[in-house]
C-alpha cells in the first residue's frame, strides 16, 4: 500500500498520509456561521466547564444548539456560549516555552487568525 492508512481515529483505517490536504481553503461563496465555545454547569455548586464548540448564526441560536448538542436538553444545567473570536487569552508566560504565541497562530481557531495576521512579524 503506497499511502499510510491508520486504523486509530475512529471507525476504521483511512489514508492519513501527506497527500491528504489539511490547509483550509479560503471560504468561497458560503457565509459560514461563527464558532462558539460552550461552557456548561452540570449542577449547582460547580463551575461552568468548557465542553466544546459549535457553529451558530447568532447568540440565541448558539445557546439553544448548545443545549441540544451538549446536554441533550437537560433542563437543570446552566449554559454559557461565547463567540470564540471574543475570547481574550492570557499573555503567554515567558518561563513556559510551551506557550509560544509567535509560532502558534496556525494552531488556533480560524477565527483567531485575523488578529495575528494583521500584525506583521509580531
Amino acid at each position: 500500500m503506497s499511502t499510510d492508512v491508520t486504523a486509530e481515529g475512529g471507525h476504521g483505517a483511512v489514508p492519513t498520509g501527506p497527500e491528504v490536504p489539511t490547509t483550509p481553503a479560503p471560504s468561497v461563496s458560503r457565509r459560514d456561521w461563527p464558532l462558539y465555545e460552550v461552557f456548561v454547569r452540570g449542577k449547582r455548586g460547580l463551575n461552568h466547564v468548557h465542553v466544546g464548540s459549535l457553529h451558530a448564526p447568532d447568540d440565541e441560536m448558539a445557546v439553544h444548539a448548545a443545549r441540544d448538542v451538549y446536554t441533550r436538553r437537560n433542563e437543570g444545567v446552566s449554559i454559557w456560549v461565547v463567540k470564540a473570536a471574543d475570547i481574550t487569552a492570557s499573555s503567554p508566560d515567558e518561563k513556559d516555552p510551551m506557550f509560544a504565541p509567535s509560532g502558534d497562530k496556525v494552531y488556533r481557531h480560524p477565527t483567531f487568525y485575523e488578529i495575528p495576521e494583521n500584525v506583521p512579524h509580531m
Binding site: 500500500m1 499510510d4 492508512v5 491508520t6 486504523a7 486509530e8 481515529g9 475512529g10 471507525h11 476504521g12 483505517a13 483511512v14 489514508p15 492519513t16 498520509g17 501527506p18 491528504v20 490536504p21 489539511t22 483550509p24 481553503a25 471560504s27 458560503r30 457565509r31 459560514d32 456561521w33 464558532l35 466544546g52 464548540s53 459549535l54 457553529h55 448564526p57 447568532d58 447568540d59 440565541e60 441560536m61 448538542v69 487569552a89 503567554p92 515567558e94 516555552p97 510551551m98 506557550f99 509560544a100 504565541p101 509567535s102 509560532g103 502558534d104 497562530k105 496556525v106 494552531y107 488556533r108 481557531h109 480560524p110 487568525y113 512579524h121 509580531m122
Partner: protein
C-alpha cells in the same frame, strides 16, 4: 510562520525539545502550545477523517430509521444516529482547535479529498445489519478509540472520552437487538447470520493493513497519536468478539478461526486486502450515494445557512 520576537523563546530547537519532553512525560499538548507542523497536520488528517466517519456513519443505519420494526427500536436508532451527529461535532471541534475549519473540512469530504472509513460504504440490507453494525462495527471502533482517550493532544483525548462513553451504549444496543432476533423466528435468525457473514471481514479490515505495510505508523506512535499497532488492535478485537459470537449462537465466517492453546489468542484466516483497497479507492457499493447525500445536505440548504447569517447581521446589537 514562526518569526522571532524579542521577548519570547525563539529557538525552534528548544521548542522542539520541550514538545518532545511533554510527549515523553505523557502530558497533554494543548491548542496554543508550540507543536511541530507534521504533528499538527497528522492530527488534522486523523481527526477530520474520524469526524467524517461519524457523519457518514449516520447513513447506513439511518436508512432504517423510517422503517424500524418497533417504536422502541425506532427511538433507540434515532438516539444512536443523533449521537453520531454529536460525535462528529465534538471531533470537528477538536480539529478546529488546530486551525482547521469545519465548513472547509466538509467541502474536502464532499470533494473526496479527505476520506472516511470504508466500512460505511457497505449497504445495510436487513434490520439485522443495524444490530451487527452496533456489535461488530462499533465494537471494532471502540477497540480503536479507547486508546485515543490517552491521545497526546488534549482536545482530541477529551472528545474521545465522551465519544467512547456513548459508543458503549451503541455496542450494547446492537448486541441486545441481535439477542432478541436470535430468540425470534427462524427468518430472523437467518437474517442475523447473513448480516454477520457480510460484516465480519469488513470489520477486521477496519484496523487497517498489517503493521509491516504501514510505513508512517512509527512516527504517529512516537507522537502519542497512535497508541497500538493495527495488528495488535485487530487481535484484541478478534479475541473479544469470538466468545460473544458463541454466546449469540452465530458462526463467524472463517473456517481457519480457532483458539491457539499456547497463546490463548485466536488465529484467523487471511484478509482479502484487494477488497479493502477497492472500497477505499471509491469502488465500494455505496461510496457515491454517501457523498451525494452530504452534498445535497450542504447545497440544498445553503439558502438556510445564508438566511440565518443575514438575519444575524441585520439584528446585530439588538437584544438576542
Amino acid at each position: 510562520m514562526s518569526a522571532p520576537t524579542l521577548d519570547r523563546p525563539t529557538d525552534e530547537a528548544a521548542l522542539q525539545r520541550q514538545f518532545e519532553a511533554t510527549i515523553a512525560a505523557d502530558r497533554r499538548v494543548e491548542p496554543r502550545d508550540w507543536m511541530p507542523e507534521g504533528y499538527r497536520r497528522t492530527l488534522i488528517r486523523q481527526i477530520a477523517q474520524h469526524a467524517h466517519s461519524e457523519i457518514i456513519g449516520m447513513q447506513p443505519e439511518g436508512d432504517w430509521l423510517l422503517a424500524a420494526p418497533s417504536l422502541r427500536r425506532k427511538a433507540i436508532l434515532l438516539a444512536k444516529v443523533q449521537d453520531e451527529a454529536g460525535h462528529g461535532m465534538y471531533l470537528y471541534s477538536a480539529a478546529e482547535t488546530l486551525g482547521a475549519d469545519r465548513a472547509d473540512l466538509t467541502d474536502k469530504l464532499i470533494e473526496k479529498k479527505q476520506k472516511y472509513s470504508s466500512i460505511f460504504n457497505y449497504p445495510t440490507l436487513t434490520y439485522a445489519d443495524v444490530g451487527v453494525i452496533g456489535w461488530l462495527v462499533d465494537g471494532a471502533a471502540i477497540c480503536n478509540q479507547v486508546p485515543l482517550c490517552r491521545s497526546s493532544y488534549g482536545p482530541y483525548a477529551r472528545a474521545m472520552i465522551r465519544v467512547c462513553k456513548e459508543e458503549s451504549f451503541h455496542q450494547r444496543q446492537g448486541y441486545e437487538l441481535l439477542m432478541t432476533m436470535m430468540r425470534g423466528t427462524p427468518e430472523q435468525r437467518a437474517m442475523v447470520q447473513d448480516a454477520v457473514d457480510r460484516w465480519w471481514w469488513p470489520s477486521l479490515m477496519m484496523f487497517g493493513p498489517p503493521d509491516d505495510d504501514s510505513p508512517n505508523s512509527a512516527q504517529s506512535m512516537a507522537w502519542g497519536i497512535k497508541r497500538h499497532s493495527n495488528d495488535e488492535l485487530r487481535q484484541r478485537y478478534v479475541d473479544m468478539t469470538v466468545p460473544q459470537a458463541e454466546f449469540l449462537g452465530v458462526t463467524l465466517p472463517d473456517p481457519e478461526l480457532r483458539l491457539d492453546p499456547d497463546t490463548g489468542r485466536h488465529r484467523f484466516g487471511a484478509i482479502d486486502w484487494s477488497e479493502f483497497k477497492a472500497v477505499l479507492a471509491g469502488n465500494g457499493p455505496c461510496n457515491d450515494e454517501r457523498i451525494a447525500r452530504r452534498r445535497a445536505a450542504r447545497d440544498d440548504n445553503a439558502w438556510v445557512t445564508e438566511a440565518a447569517t443575514a438575519y444575524a447581521e441585520k439584528h446585530a446589537g439588538a437584544v438576542a
